[in-house]
Symmetry: C2
Subunit: 211 residues, 2 copies
């Protein structure tokens, strides 16, 4: 009884949610209409409010999903029992993967958080905790042992994230400006990522040969 019904239900529900996710990501909350979503999902307009109670409820569900998707792997890497150098490199690589898979994600999240900062999910608190807990102490120890330059985690992470994500935030501008294809942009992005890894590691970690 429940199995089949649930399956069919989830199929239509998921169709709408997927279509909504794609459109919200591209156009944002204000720029998306309920009919846009229904049309993209090939479903009747009324179904949007049948499964999700309102446009806002649907949006909040998707926003939360996307926010978690973005944080999930970062938080996991934060807690990994590996050296800070390897951790930072993994963070960059993982972030790059996410950005490549969903280039509009960061711009979407930033815009919607700016629109309504109150909707920030509690997951962000964990981010904050790990930033000031695990990561900060790990950096402090490395600095103490003279293997790393002194830098606050609350500066380091935005610095890394920013320099990497900026080219994705401005992807449309770049592609339009340089008339590049999707593949060419990805090559450029990959090159940029590697450059950031080089810079971060070479700048932060003093080669133990000299001095």
């Amino acid at each position: 009884m429940e199995v089949k019904v649930a399956c069919i239900t989830q199929t239509s529900e998921e169709k709408i949610k997927e279509a909504a996710k794609a459109i919200f990501l591209k156009k944002g909350y204000a720029g998306t209409t309920a009919r846009d979503i229904a049309e993209a999902a090939n479903m009747n307009i009324a179904l949007t409010n049948y499964y999700f109670r309102s446009k806002e409820k649907l949006f909040l569900e998707i926003f939360k999903d996307l926010f978690n998707y973005y944080c999930q792997n970062t938080l996991r890497i934060f807690q990994k029992p590996i050296g800070i150098r390897e951790k930072l490199i993994e963070l960059i690589e993982e972030d790059f993967r996410v950005m490549k898979a969903e280039p509009n994600l960061v711009l979407f999240l930033m815009k919607e958080i700016q629109r309504d900062p109150e909707q920030l999910p509690p997951e962000l608190s964990k981010f904050k905790e790990l930033l000031h807990g695990t990561l900060t102490s790990q950096i402090k120890e490395e600095v103490k042992n003279g293997r790393m330059r002194d830098i606050g985690a609350d500066h380091l992470i935005p610095l890394i994230m920013g320099s990497l994500q900026f080219i994705f935030v401005g992807k449309n501008m770049n592609m339009k400006l340089y008339n590049t294809t999707e593949d060419e942009f990805n090559d450029f992005a990959e090159c940029h990522k590697n450059l950031i890894i080089s810079m971060i590691t070479e700048y932060l970690f003093t080669p133990t040969t000299a001095s």
Copy 2:
């Protein structure tokens, strides 16, 4: 005759434009209504279309202004007859000033360009030219003389801009997350800016003492 009339005209027109600029910056094109603008400007709704022909025309005018405002100083610094090191520092300092004065500017521009990449003004082409002309040749020469690390201008500029602007793009998130005041955020941002200057200069420019 013309003087007074023109003055009054411009006063009302400018009132609307200023109010529209503030709201567009905060809420974006899709999130802004004509009545929002009229109310903020304390003017009748019809005046928006009386002075500017439509919401879109008004937006395009403001967008162009803001885009130029953002590029203007950057382009000027690009062409300055100073060393590349000083030039980069000036770029960061100037960018920081602009971001501090209008924290929503970059997020606004990025979002609106993503919404409609076709509206990109021709000013961006000049940006591209200078990036691949003046700046690239200046870097190449410095690299040739062994005074600077080899890095493409098309990677260096986004790297600098990104790491600096990211904290402003995520300003609302940061302030909400850390429960900071406007002043505290500005202190954090200033600290971040100085850190970026240190990193960029120390990483890029090899101290001529060693080797």
